[in-house]
Symmetry: C2
């Protein structure tokens, strides 16, 4: 994935900071990094700029590159989300994302029923039909990909780019859920019906029904996986004190 030297350094430092291998509060010197990673200053500096935008570090003169604590991290940054999912904060990250999608997807479905363009409504109907087919057949691999596409489409069809942008991490959740074996042998009949009803409602411009059925999906989703993070500590970020 990381083809450029620069991206390698970002990946190296970012993953280590998020995982805690480089403790918060540490001070790194750019010169040391040059030596340790065997790259030039320009590469280091560009990488540090990117990491600073992620909220992972904060470079100041005469002191060096300071590693910041988790409350400064940008929780919507794709890098940060990926690194957290690959660390022991995986549970906490899954919880945050799931709470977010539970909040957002019903509204997205409602909006989609109001404003979605015709081709997206059509594809939604197609996808839900295929979900029924492969779901009842027990083809979980194909069902997973369709499920991901379904939710991404609803988010996109809402016409809200902030919603649409959540499709990648939500796809990651869905993949993670099946990888962890949290999915039943074959999808519940109810779940299939709800997905079909969401697609129907959006197709028929029925916002209330779209929301209601999506809420059902979200409720079940929450029940199925909330046990994963029962004991994960929560992070309370007071914006006034973070400054």
């Amino acid at each position: 994935m990381a083809t450029s030297l620069h991206a390698h350094v970002v990946e190296h430092l970012g993953s280590r900071i998020v995982s805690g291998q480089i403790p918060r509060g540490s001070i790194i010197l750019a010169a040391d990094l040059e030596q340790k990673l065997q790259v030039s200053r320009s590469v280091i500096r560009e990488a540090v700029r990117v990491l600073a935008q992620c909220g992972l570090v904060n470079s100041t003169k005469r002191v060096g590159i300071r590693v910041l604590s988790a409350e400064h991290w940008n929780p919507y940054d794709d890098h940060v989300i990926r690194w957290r999912l690959a660390s022991d904060q995986k549970g906490a990250q899954l919880r945050s994302l799931t709470e977010l999608r539970i909040s957002v997807e019903p509204m997205a479905a409602e909006l989609a029923a109001e404003v979605a363009p015709e081709d997206m409504r059509k594809e939604l109907m197609l996808i839900s039909a295929q979900m029924n087919h492969y779901g009842r057949q027990g083809d979980l691999r194909r069902f997973l990909e369709l499920d991901i596409r379904f939710h991404a489409l609803v988010l996109a069809a809402s016409g809200n780019e902030m919603f649409a942008n959540l499709s990648t991490p939500i796809g990651a959740i869905l993949r993670g859920r099946t990888e962890l074996g949290l999915m039943p042998e074959r999808p519940h009949e109810e779940a299939l019906l709800w997905h079909q009803s969401v697609a129907d409602a959006i197709s028929n411009s029925d916002p209330a029904a779209a929301r209601r059925n999506m809420e059902s999906i979200m409720r079940r989703t929450h029940n199925e996986i909330s046990s994963l993070w029962e004991n994960e500590p929560r992070l309370f970020v007071d914006p006034a004190k973070t400054s």
Copy 2:
């Protein structure tokens, strides 16, 4: 604000790209930028790296720095949000953010009632009392600041860092709303009661009541300002086609 040279260049290019002064699809050459902005290559390169992370540009060898279209922009990036609010996409940005907060804040209130730490519950009670005081007194300036603090606190008290991170842009919405004169002479009595009820419910660990009252606030908010973006075009970002 932009103290470093590097930040200046980011600001210069970013605002121009978002506003459309530099049209999407344009190809910029780093060498030209050096001349036009009278800065060195390292500054340009670091700025371009930052803009690339915002999804505004995409620098590739032998071709130059390509300006990307809006569907590639990172809608959660603070820079991007600020630039959009300062452009003619202000309406669309306000709509996206408002739809997001309407989705998220009821869940945040519900979670806060379950997991908020004691000091946050206390401060929430204090803030809502002050909101009552200054609201009934008609001191809109002070009420606005308290309102911003109130919603930021609920988001933080949810223990979901993705929710908490929305407090800055949501604060910007609230400020914008009063600047545009969309607030009544003095806050509605209902609104004051709902805020008080949210604080009470969180303080008494009553998730259902917290959600219900926050939903009331959100419903009224939506009714008050949705007219602003009645005619704003929506952006449908199909993740499969964006690549």
